[in-house]
């Protein structure tokens, strides 16, 4: 009798199992795959456009300040398509995809009613939230890598590869260029943590997945617009997008670290502030959906 009465043991690897289940569930959603598909298509479009224009022309902005500097070099070296594609997707496509996944993380489960069954399983509110956050960050990484890998493949297919010139004018080997590209992808993924935390917080506020996704993406657009208004200069350093394009500094020789570290610090601050807010909200919330 005492055997039956005793509480069941918690499997030590359980949290990992929940994380694995969460990853599988997220990446098997049709929506997630569609977002990744769109992201994979961006480098293809940019690559083909550059190939058609064959080099010259003003390259029509290329998306963000760091864009044009890279885009003019693509025809010399396909690796630059990776930097161009990341610069083109970072201001909107990437954070939008993250905002959708993060906004849906809890609100979508509440909407479908599956949240209550996860909680009576009992997944535990804090652990479920942490698992969700880890999964959204995994998505940030996956999304960035999809852009980078797609860009590398298209770049290798359409353009020559080889040694490259940094922004500072020095030459580095292709292998080192690849390593820097990977590092840049990691930094870009980390740049999305602020949006991820914000989206997760919004996701705890409502029981409608659509509303949470729309709110997060709306906030993203608002911040991007406010970031363009010079009168708000004093506020700009606190916008999660302020240092986003600092990843280009990794292509300097020597690497210029100041803005890069500021960016990572800012993302950590967002994760802490909105992560805590999400925790406070989610652990104290009545689950009525």
């Amino acid at each position: 009798m005492s055997q039956a009465e005793a509480a069941r043991r918690t499997s030590p690897l359980w949290t990992l199992g929940l994380f694995r289940s969460e990853l599988l569930t997220t990446f098997r959603r049709w929506r997630t795959l569609a977002l990744l598909g769109v992201l994979a298509a961006v480098p293809v479009l940019v690559g083909v456009a550059v190939e058609i224009e064959t080099g010259d022309g003003p390259a029509a902005g290329g998306g963000g300040g760091a864009g044009p500097a890279f885009i003019s070099q693509i025809t010399n070296n396909g690796l630059f398509l990776v930097f161009t594609a990341l610069a083109a997707t970072l201001p909107f496509f990437l954070p939008m995809a993250v905002g959708v996944v993060a906004g849906d993380a809890l609100a979508g489960e509440a909407n479908a009613g599956t949240l209550r069954y996860l909680l009576v399983a009992p997944a535990g509110r804090t652990r479920l939230l942490l698992t969700k956050f880890a999964t959204v960050i995994a998505f940030c990484l996956a999304a960035t890598l999809v852009v980078a890998v797609s860009a590398l493949a298209v770049g290798a297919l359409l353009f020559p590869l080889g040694d490259l010139t940094t922004i500072s004018g020095t030459r580095i080997s292709f292998a080192e260029g690849l390593a820097r590209a990977l590092l840049i992808a990691l930094v870009v993924a980390a740049s999305l943590i602020g949006v991820a935390a914000l989206g997760l917080f919004v996701s705890t506020l409502t029981d409608s997945g659509i509303a949470a996704m729309a709110t997060t993406v709306g906030l993203l657009i608002t911040v991007q617009i406010l970031g363009q208004i010079p009168q708000l200069d004093a506020l700009h350093p606190y916008f999660f997008s302020h240092y986003w394009l600092s990843f280009a500094d990794l292509m300097r020789e020597p690497v210029y670290w100041e803005d890069l570290t500021r960016n990572l610090g800012l993302q950590a601050l967002y994760a802490a502030v909105f992560g805590s807010a999400a925790w406070a909200r989610f652990t104290g919330k009545d689950i009525t959906a």
Binding site: E5, S11, S21, G113, P122, A123, I287, T288
Partner: protein
């Protein structure tokens, strides 16, 4: 094991305590829930569910059944009052209690893009006490138990209402449970499915699982439940063994006649208590003596009898009498 070690273990993650003492698997004291601003949805509930019972939780729409279940499962915080499940307070000890509880709350909820089997794998992965090594076998057993083995590979969004309900039940049966909380478990099931569920409930109960089920279907409760409670407008009206509840609304003797005055007088003479006259019907408690003699007495007194007989009270009569006959949902 000695008393001391039992007390020691209580401090750890054991689930016993009050249950061992007074035999209650669910015990609430003055449990109250007021959703933001509004009327209390549950008002001062004192519910006691004995261990090993099949407990029917009855009440009209909006009477607070689901709200009570959500509080018991730690999903919502009571406004005031306390609740104990398996002898431990909820929501505080929900993490220790819930692995022993299987629940179906306000219908099943599934991931439409996952197959039935993958849905169960996901829910099982959310249980910290579930052994990943036995997961597939337990999922297969649960699917088999609710008759879904053949449809296990189908996407859940392609399931019919009854199939979804069955999958929800399967999720509640992934592990051996000590308490099953089923909020309207036969909703959407065909008659065959309802019978299977009743069979399943009886089978689980005979294994010692306490089953707490809410329902509108009174004959269902009458068929499977040993105990029942009736809610109305957030308040508990009555609770106890089903036999006592039905007995509380005893059958009545009914005489249909145009001569109601004479009939009432004769019935009183024959020892019928609580005689009530309504239009052309005279009713009263069923007397201890042979009804044939009562009828003969009526006829002998010249009362023109159109109908005569004892109407057996069902749980439904008890329910309607207790909750009021109005169809409208209380605001």
């Amino acid at each position: 094991m000695g008393e001391a070690s039992a007390t020691e273990r209580d401090g750890a993650d054991t689930v016993r305590g009050a249950e061992a003492g007074d035999g209650a698997v669910i015990a609430t004291r003055a449990l109250t829930k007021r959703y933001r601003g509004g009327q209390p949805a549950v008002d001062g509930l004192d519910l006691t569910v004995p261990a090993g019972s099949v407990f029917g939780f009855l009440g009209p729409n909006g009477s607070g059944k689901t709200t009570t279940i959500r509080m018991l499962m730690g999903l919502i915080e009571p406004t005031s009052g306390t609740a104990h499940v398996l002898g431990r307070p909820v929501p505080r000890s929900a993490r220790a209690v819930l692995p022993h509880v299987g629940a179906l709350i306000e219908g099943p909820a599934l991931y439409g893009f996952l197959s039935g089997r993958d849905n169960l794998l996901r829910y099982d992965a959310a249980d910290p006490t579930a052994d990943p090594r036995t997961r597939r076998a337990r999922v297969a057993a649960a699917l088999d138990r609710v008759g879904l083995t053949a449809a296990a590979g189908k996407k859940a969004k392609a399931y019919s209402l009854g199939m979804k309900q069955r999958l929800g039940l399967a999720a509640a049966l992934l592990q051996p449970r000590r308490l099953l909380v089923l909020d309207e478990p036969t909703n959407g099931l065909d008659p065959q499915g309802m019978r299977e569920i009743r069979g399943l409930v009886r089978e689980l109960a005979s294994d010692g699982t306490t089953v707490f089920l809410s329902s509108h279907l009174l004959d269902e409760i009458e068929q499977v439940c040993t105990h029942a409670a009736v809610m109305a407008r957030g308040r508990l009206i009555v609770q106890g063994p089903v036999a006592d509840l039905a007995a509380g609304a005893r059958g009545r003797l009914v005489v249909t006649t145009p001569d109601t005055g004479d009939a009432a007088r004769v019935l009183k003479e024959q020892g019928v208590a609580d005689v009530v006259v309504t239009e052309d019907r005279v009713t009263g408690e069923v007397p201890g003596r042979d009804l044939a003699e009562v009828n003969a007495a009526l006829v002998a007194a010249g009362v023109r009898v159109r109908g005569f007989g004892a109407e057996r009270a069902s749980l439904e009569d008890a329910f309607v009498a207790l909750t009021g006959e109005g169809f409208d949902v209380a605001g």
